[in-house]
């Protein structure tokens, strides 16, 4: 085999080189790019790749967190500390009107809630700041409709994705031409899988939110999922009594919509081991995808990441 060849890039280094190429290409071709920062492990990897792309300079774009106000407390703590330490410019955007209207994940259903608090808030923020390109940490292996997403995903003036009229994307020659008001969502992690991301986190010693590691946490079992009682806003249903269980999260989002898994994995190798042996795919922990078949595609058409 060719393992003796010193001029050989492993798959991770090749993915890294491609992602850096994408990050630089967007920074070079757009007037006002932004990086969507969701605080999860994929965001952590994407931010590290951006640091690599522009070292020794600072990131030539701000990070934007679209905040539903329903993230885990540990995520907010991590976000604020991490961005301060690294010296990133962090923008936080909330759908203030929806918050004033009392939109929440309990009364309005995960579909409506996501549309208003994530999709609308994201589109508002992009318009408000005039961003013409936004990086997202989405991977093509996450979900069926993502498998067809381009690396440069064109969005019309309303931020909508038209899967039937995507621009052909050949080689690594990306077409970043947009008219005023239109934008591109760029996905530097398109070709990474969940295993690649975890392996890279381990290899590069990238900081991630502690919620990924198992610890005793207060949870209730609801609709077949373990929901963490992260603060007093979680309305307990009749008969629900929080109990402490050793759990962790495979994906992080809004805490009332993120299912925990029972696990004792407290180190990265243990997490990866568990993931490799797992028989359930990653997004199953996310309740927002289960509303209807193909729901991610519907959300993306509307402008969701």
């Amino acid at each position: 085999m060719s393992t003796l060849d010193p001029r050989r890039l492993s798959h991770l280094r090749q993915l890294e080189a491609e992602s850096i190429h994408i990050l630089r290409e967007v920074a070079a071709e757009f007037d006002r790019p932004v990086m969507l920062y969701s605080i999860g492990k994929d965001s952590s990897v994407m931010v590290r790749l951006a640091q690599k792309a522009f070292a020794p300079g600072p990131l030539p774009f701000p990070l934007l967190h679209v905040d539903t106000t329903w993230k885990f407390r540990a995520m907010y703590e991590f976000r604020d500390r991490f961005c301060a330490e690294q010296g990133f410019e962090l923008l936080v955007h909330k759908n203030e009107r929806a918050l004033a209207d009392g939109i929440n994940p309990f009364d309005h259903g995960s579909n409506k809630y996501t549309q208003v608090m994530k999709t609308h808030a994201l589109l508002d923020a992009l318009r408000l700041y005039g961003f013409d390109a936004a990086f997202g940490g989405a991977r093509r292996d996450e979900e069926r409709s993502r498998a067809k997403e381009r690396i440069y995903s064109f969005r019309d003036q309303h931020g909508q994705w038209d899967p039937k009229h995507q621009r052909p994307e050949l080689w690594s020659l990306y077409n970043g031409k947009v008219k005023r008001g239109e934008s591109i969502r760029a996905f530097p992690l398109s070709n990474w899988t969940e295993l690649d991301v975890w392996q890279y986190v381990w290899l590069e010693n990238i900081p991630i939110v502690p919620l990924y590691f198992a610890a005793p946490r207060p949870v209730v079992e609801r609709d077949g999922a373990l929901i963490m009682v992260d603060d007093e806003r979680l309305r307990l249903r009749p008969g629900e009594v929080p109990r402490t269980e050793v759990v962790r999260f495979r994906t992080l989002g809004c805490y009332p919509l993120s299912g925990a898994i029972r696990s004792t994995a407290t180190t990265l190798p243990e997490i990866i081991q568990e993931m490799l042996l797992a028989r359930f795919s990653e997004r199953q922990g996310r309740l927002i995808d289960h509303d209807e078949e193909g729901s991610m595609e519907v959300k993306k058409r509307e402008g969701y990441f």
């Binding site: 060719s2 050989r8 280094r13 890294e16 491609e18 690599k52 020794p56 490799l276 028989r279």
Partner: protein, 571 residues
């Protein structure tokens, strides 16, 4: 039915850190799966994902539910699981039961990580096939064992060759439906291998498989005891791809200039090919200025050597002017990229709106974007015969050979020598759509060189004056007298019709055509007549010795090209 294969499960349980360290050394292989409708492409990909343990239980359950609903076929008793459903992405596709866009799939084995480009096999989707093929190391082509090598199969192999894929694997699928007949397989293998080699693909392999049953996909099965070659997965895990990389010719397209302070100016980019070391002398294109590599920087610190496809940042010893779109090459290079503004290229037309030769497009090549127009369509590939035919149009899914004029020079290699510096896309500057994928063959005749005087009269200007585009007609005959007789007849007919034509020696033909004239060359023994290499067809009624009819047919073909030339605007 074969169950999921978790070959590395014990290893993961026993020592995950050892497993991870081993997996850090994996290679990356991209392959494209192409085939006609109903060849079983989706089933094959679903099989690979399932049999390599890439399908999770919730996905499997969802697919089982959908299979039971009979989404794409009547619930078969043989196959409880419709493997093709693993790969169905978009709603419209699920509704129509077809695949309408390129999708990317991922799986891994202890040896390699794989990226699959799953491309639709309908005739009208050449566009998607080219997209998936553009980044592939390997093309997997599906052939239905009952149908053999079809025109579409040849088209797919041709596109794989056109996009420069060095390794082709033909899976002769549905072997179970022909009773695993060895002779059937051998006949298809021989036909396909001969054809594929003819297209220039260096490495061709054929496998007998049944995607539905999983035979010879990830597992050997016992259906074909006569077959002793690898399974598809074994082949994909071992096909040598290291040697496909070009580590000889240094090409570093500058992507971005990093300038955090007055003392630091780094040129960031991804090495397209070659090796770069600190201390190397380099030349910056287009300026031609020389400098030395002061350091190669990465986030982790400086490194002594970098090679393709690494993303790096280069600092130079001298303050020379370099910006995005420029390219660094080795000072002592044996092979330098061509520098010029005229390209001879193959185009795959990707847009519903046909090529408009009167219009200028944006051409993106490496990190450089220039305005460009297509000066001439030199021929369009006939989808049935795969031979170039004269044409005046290039429409969706057409493949054509064209002459392109860039408004600023680009630095390029032939696509056959270097995929990264031989490829470009065309963007419509009004709609911003990506309208074509281009593969450079070389500079066009008479192209301006970086160091020589430039032509002052453009081909478009010549066309406007002469009312015709230059062309070479080769005319055959049983002997020299007959060939020359026909050549002079064509000259007479063309002259009488008001054109500029001359019978010339073969050696002079290109120069005469470049001057805008019709060069007519007598080629005894060749039979018939060819216009710019493409056969000129006689009217069905005419006999083969009707020289007059031949001359008229040639004139008609020439005028078709000439009229187009005359109406084209020029800058």
């Amino acid at each position: 039915m074969a169950g999921a294969v978790h070959t590395d499960e014990d290893e993961i349980r026993a020592d995950v850190e050892a497993y991870l360290r081993a997996h850090e050394q994996k290679e990356l292989l991209r392959f494209v799966v192409i085939g006609s409708v109903d060849d079983g492409k989706s089933t094959l990909i679903g099989r690979l994902l399932h049999d390599t343990g890439r399908v999770y239980e919730d996905q499997l359950n969802a697919v089982k539910r959908a299979s039971a609903r009979g989404a794409t076929r009547g619930a078969g008793s043989e196959a409880e699981v419709d493997f093709s459903l693993f790969t169905d992405g978009l709603r419209a596709e699920r509704e129509q039961g077809i695949t309408i866009d390129v999708a990317y799939r991922y799986f891994t084995t202890p040896r390699r990580k794989f990226i699959i480009a799953d491309t639709p096999g309908h005739v009208q989707y050449t566009r998607n096939m080219a997209t998936g093929a553009s980044t592939a190391n390997v093309a997997v082509i599906l052939i239905d064992a009952r149908l053999g090598v079809l025109a579409q199969t040849r088209r797919h192999a041709y596109i794989a060759a056109l996009l420069g894929i060095p390794h082709l694997v033909a899976c002769v699928n549905k072997m179970d439906l022909v009773g695993w007949d060895e002779a059937t397989f051998a006949r298809i293998r021989d036909e396909l291998t001969t054809f594929a080699r003819g297209t220039g693909i260096p490495d061709v392999t054929c496998l007998p498989v049944s995607a539905l049953r999983g035979d010879q996909i990830a597992q050997r099965g016992d259906a074909a005891p006569w077959y002793d070659g690898p399974t598809l997965l074994e082949h994909l895990e071992t096909v040598p791809i290291e040697a496909d990389r070009n580590l000889v010719d240094l090409r570093f397209p500058v992507q971005y200039v990093i300038r955090p302070s007055l003392d630091y100016r780094g040129f960031a980019g991804q090495l397209a090919s070659g090796v770069l070391r600190a201390g190397d002398e380099v030349i910056a294109l287009p300026s031609g200025r020389r400098s030395t590599v002061a350091s190669i920087d990465t986030f982790e610190g400086p490194i002594a050597e970098a090679f393709a496809p690494m993303s790096i940042t280069v600092r130079l010893a001298d303050e020379i002017d370099v910006s995005r779109g420029d390219m660094l090459i080795a000072a002592g290079a044996a092979r330098r990229p061509a520098v010029g503004d005229r390209l001879d290229a193959m185009l795959v037309w990707l847009s519903e709106r046909p090529l408009d030769p009167g219009r200028s497009y944006l051409l993106k090549h490496t990190t450089r974007v220039v305005r460009a127009d297509v000066e001439r369509i030199d021929g369009v590939i006939d989808p049935e015969t795969l031979a170039p035919e004269p044409a005046t149009r290039l429409s969706l899914n057409d493949i054509g050979r064209v002459s392109i004029h860039c408004h600023q020079p680009v630095f390029f290699d032939a696509y056959a020598d270097n995929r990264a510096t031989g490829a470009f896309i065309l963007i419509d500057s009004l709609t911003n759509d990506t309208v074509a994928a281009g593969m450079i063959r070389g500079a066009t005749t008479g192209a301006a060189r970086d160091d020589g005087p430039r032509a002052q009269v453009s081909a478009a200007e010549r066309r406007a004056r002469l009312g015709q585009a230059g062309a070479v007609v080769t005319v055959g005959g049983r002997d020299a007298d007959e060939a020359h007789g026909r050549a002079f007849l064509i000259e007479r007919v063309a002259f009488d019709a008001g054109h500029v034509a001359a019978v010339v020696d073969a050696a002079a033909a290109d120069a005469v055509a470049a001057a805008g004239m019709w060069a007519i060359v007598a080629a005894p023994g060749a039979g018939g007549a060819r216009l710019d290499g493409a056969e000129v067809h006689l009217p069905a009624a005419a006999s083969a010795d009707d020289d007059e009819a031949l001359a008229r047919a040639v004139l008609a073909a020439l005028e078709l090209g000439g009229k187009r030339g005359a109406t084209e605007p020029f800058d």
